[in-house]
């Protein structure tokens, strides 16, 4: 049962098992030969010479897998891509990270990679939108842009000598506010054309970070900042983060309105269900789950119950088999 932790009744168990088996039968024919578990020997052609890569070991002249995963071959190199691992960045990926440290001219971000990523002050657009050299004053004001613990969306720029670099050279990147961050296994988020989604019917933003961090929040218009931000730019005092100066009543007025919040929670729970079941997370599927839960008139919290999970699994079988027929 893929280690799914759900208290299931007997009928639910049977239903879920059936759904998972069907899913397996739909998908597994293509690449079952390439997947290995620990101690499987990997067939190689020794005459051409072999370069043993990650997750392989030489045992009595045989190449043997040391991790569970999929065998990948690049010319002579043979390695195993692990099924469950931390995120492996690729250039151009859209990721979401949390600021760990504000350092000289850079922020360090936790992006679920085995080292922290670096976002240089120079590789992001300034809030005023003007292209210019970054001055010492900008450097001093870095905390006005991102503070520790802020959630930031950025793009992977590539590996430099001092680690993994990110960039945020567009208005769609930057700090994420008013919403919640979800963490799912990175392999559930596949690279797609579009990772930023605005669900207009619900008024929410959904960002699927390739690193398995998913942001669900209130929709924020990518604003034409030239007009209003110049006002604040003229006075650097305004830029300072003004936390704790609002009274409780004032704060409460600023809260995300209930209607939007309901959809945010619904979308977040859809992601949680998918992550629990170990299904790929795409906009289409999330929308499907949200619609399903609304049509069933289900309470938002009940979406995490086992009954709904089983239903989602069955719907997924339907969806994939119908997709297959279309092809």
């Amino acid at each position: 049962m893929r280690g799914i932790q759900l208290p299931l009744s007997q009928t639910q168990k049977v239903r879920l098992q059936k759904a998972l088996e069907k899913l397996e039968s739909i998908s597994s024919k293509v690449n079952s030969a390439a997947s290995v578990i620990i101690a499987d020997s990997i067939p190689v052609n020794h005459e051409d010479g072999v370069l043993k890569g990650h997750g392989t070991i030489d045992l009595n002249g045989e190449v043997v897998a040391t991790i569970c995963g999929v065998v990948e071959r690049v010319n002579k190199l043979v390695y195993v891509r692990a099924l469950r691992s931390r995120y492996k960045p690729e250039v151009g990926d859209i990721v979401i990270g949390r600021v760990v440290e504000v350092a000289q001219k850079r922020w360090r971000l936790d992006i679920n990679f085995n080292q922290d990523a670096v976002l240089m002050l120079s590789s992001m657009n300034m809030p005023d939108g003007v292209q210019r050299r970054r001055t010492a004053l900008d450097e001093l004001n870095m905390r006005c842009i991102f503070e520790e613990n802020d959630v930031v969306c950025a793009e992977v720029r590539g590996f430099q000598h001092d680690g993994l670099h990110l960039q945020a050279r567009s208005r769609k990147y930057g700090k994420l506010n008013r919403g919640q961050l979800l963490k799912v296994p990175p392999y559930l988020v596949k690279r797609q054309k579009q990772h930023f989604h605005h669900l207009e019917e619900f008024g929410i933003d959904l960002i699927l970070g390739c690193n398995g961090f998913i942001w669900v929040g209130e929709h924020i218009e990518a604003k034409d900042d030239m007009v209003e931000d110049q006002v604040s730019q003229s006075d650097p005092q305004v830029l300072l983060p003004n936390k704790n100066c609002l009274s409780l009543e004032e704060q409460e007025k600023n809260y995300t309105i209930l209607e939007t919040r309901k959809y945010i929670c619904r979308a977040a729970n859809a992601v949680r269900v998918l992550s629990m079941l170990g299904f790929n997370i795409t906009l289409e599927i999330i929308k499907g789950i949200i619609d399903l839960s609304i049509s069933m008139n289900l309470d938002i919290h009940e979406m995490l119950g086992s009954d709904f999970c089983v239903l989602v699994a069955e719907k997924e079988v339907e969806r994939r088999s119908s997709n297959k027929k279309k092809r």
């Binding site: 994420l176 919403g179 936390k243 809260y255 977040a268």
Partner: protein, 297 residues
């Protein structure tokens, strides 16, 4: 369940201002981040008999929180002051698998805090009067031999609401506990230690109907919530843990967090806790019963 570990945030949940604001707003609007209302629990699952060597054990999962309680009974001597009562001690350990910050001595502080809170909530006063566990049922020969119960709790993974989870786990483990029947050899004089024969077939079940459950009400902003996640706990101003037994009586109370509370709020909290605990006890009882049934099959 999968947990992303943030390596350098050193234990405490780091949340951005926007997220904090969102959590507080959700609690104000009675719609928390996972869609729960203020007084709704996460899914609770109970598994009993997880440790074969112990007399009784249980694992309780509430959402992402995962705790194990085990109960070990040993024959010992009752204390001189209470010759007609057995002894119970509670000790909690926070595993570093739950949070990197618990490594080494990092978890000790929290473990001590939890142990004390549980002792207050479950064991009653120094004399042992009013304890959830009937201490006089632990006596074998008055003044000479009694059972010592060692209750050990282990926090395997922590996502808030540890105290409630531990309380539930201890309750479940006590339900699961069998204490061997003891035959005392007859005809020993008063001043020497009587010989005993511990049966390994016959076990006595505990009476656990008096064991209370713990309901922690966490105050965030103006409102209070039950079963807070660790994100929500990071936003709390104070938290009151109230242990309530089946009759709806308060057995113990502890408060964490520095912010003061108006007495009227505490009274309000108590009545809410009474109401919530009735549901929790029923839920736990059915979970424990089904877990016991599962174990037997």
């Amino acid at each position: 369940m999968w947990h992303a570990s943030a390596p350098r945030t050193s234990g405490m949940v780091g949340l951005s201002l926007g997220e904090k604001h969102f959590i507080q707003g959700g609690i104000a609007h009675d719609l928390r981040c996972d869609g729960r209302k203020r007084l709704t629990y996460r899914r609770i699952s109970v598994e009993t008999g997880v440790i074969p060597h112990a007399n009784g054990s249980a694992q309780v999962r509430i959402g992402g929180t995962d705790v194990i309680a085990s109960i070990k009974a040993e024959l010992g001597k009752p204390s001189l002051l209470q010759p007609d009562k057995g002894k119970v001690s509670i000790y909690i350990d926070c595993s570093s698998t739950a949070e990197p910050a618990f490594e080494g001595r990092g978890g000790n502080e929290l473990a001590a805090e939890l142990s004390i809170a549980l002792q207050r909530c479950l064991l009653g006063g120094k004399s042992g009067a009013g304890a959830g566990i009937d201490l006089s049922s632990l006596i074998v020969v008055e003044g000479k031999i009694c059972w010592d119960l060692y209750i050990d709790g282990l926090v395997v993974s922590s996502d808030g609401n540890l105290l409630d989870a531990l309380g539930a786990a201890i309750k479940a483990a006590l339900c699961n506990t069998g204490i061997p029947r003891v035959q005392v050899a007859a005809g020993t004089s008063n001043d020497e230690q009587p010989e005993v024969d511990v049966s390994d077939e016959e076990f006595l079940q505990f009476d656990t109907s008096g064991v209370p459950v713990i309901v922690t009400l966490t105050k965030v902003g103006r409102h209070y919530i039950v079963d807070a996640t660790s994100e929500e706990e990071s936003q709390m101003s104070s938290a009151v843990s109230i242990s309530v037994n089946r009759q709806g009586h308060i057995c113990g109370m502890t408060k964490r967090g520095g912010v003061g509370l108006d007495p009227s709020i505490i009274l309000d909290m108590i009545s809410v806790a009474q109401h919530v605990s009735a549901q929790l006890i029923n839920k736990l009882d059915s979970e424990i019963a089904s877990a016991e049934a599962e174990e037997e099959t």
